[in-house]
Symmetry: C2
Subunit: 151 residues, 2 copies
């Protein structure tokens, strides 16, 4: 039985995660999509960039906002290979991302279905629709391999 094929944005996010791993960074990748087109790409690169905020989601959101000339990404979707952390979930809310798709969940650092559960906080003014699980196996495998090689 064949696997259901992954959507184009998640395949691109996984390719970006692989690029992060090649650069020695924790393999997480993300893209922002508007009207079917990718308008922002990013991968995790805090070490390379000397920037603790350079997570895949932040990089993709900043690239998309720059490309669209607007700090509000209305009507845009974010695809990312790992459940966003508290910082990235906050950025997703500030950016007004319409739909969030993430592959693997992250019990230790995720803040969507774990920890601070940012989008469930009454304080959070913008909540994206959230979908998870597609690409999970590929995304988790990349992370496992990365940490195994570094042990």
């Amino acid at each position: 039985m064949g696997k259901w094929p992954l959507s184009e944005p998640m395949r691109e996010a996984l390719a970006l995660a692989r690029r992060a791993a090649e650069a020695g960074e924790v393999p997480v990748g993300a893209v922002v999509v508007k009207g079917g087109a990718i308008v922002g790409r990013g991968h995790n690169r805090p070490r390379q960039a000397h920037d603790p905020t350079a997570h895949a989601e932040i990089e993709a959101i900043r690239a998309a906002a720059r490309a669209l000339g607007n700090e509000r990404l209305e009507g845009c979707d974010l695809w990312v290979t790992l459940e966003p952390c508290v910082m990235c979930a906050g950025a997703i809310a500030h950016a007004r991302i319409a739909r969030l798709y993430y592959a693997a969940s992250d019990r230790k650092g995720g803040a969507v279905e774990h920890g601070a559960r940012v989008f469930d906080q009454p304080q959070t003014l913008h909540r994206p629709e959230v979908y998870s699980g597609m690409g999970e196996e590929d995304a988790a495998k990349l992370l496992r391999r990365f940490f195994k090689e570094r042990r």
Copy 2:
């Protein structure tokens, strides 16, 4: 009776908040201090920068990490005029900020003593020491004036 004089970093953060207001941005300013010297400055500027992540804290942290050539700001303190939001609190934890000083608290958007209370989450691996209140009056006055003029 005279007011207790504000420390130099908080005076600089307030000056940066005023600069934000002059540029039409919500007046919040921040500095990162290491060994008594300011190593990063930032003010709120999401509109100008077309960047939803361009809060004062993120700008100051990014500037400091760039200046120090390290994504971990060990031994650095962050001074900011307003209680950090969930995104910025996450960034503060990622950056390993040692001490956080903020002026005004923010019931609506703050995530230190309100909302997600990021540093109280068991998931958060790094917690700064937190001090608040110094400069509160000045910081809150700047924000009130800004929003009043825009109503």
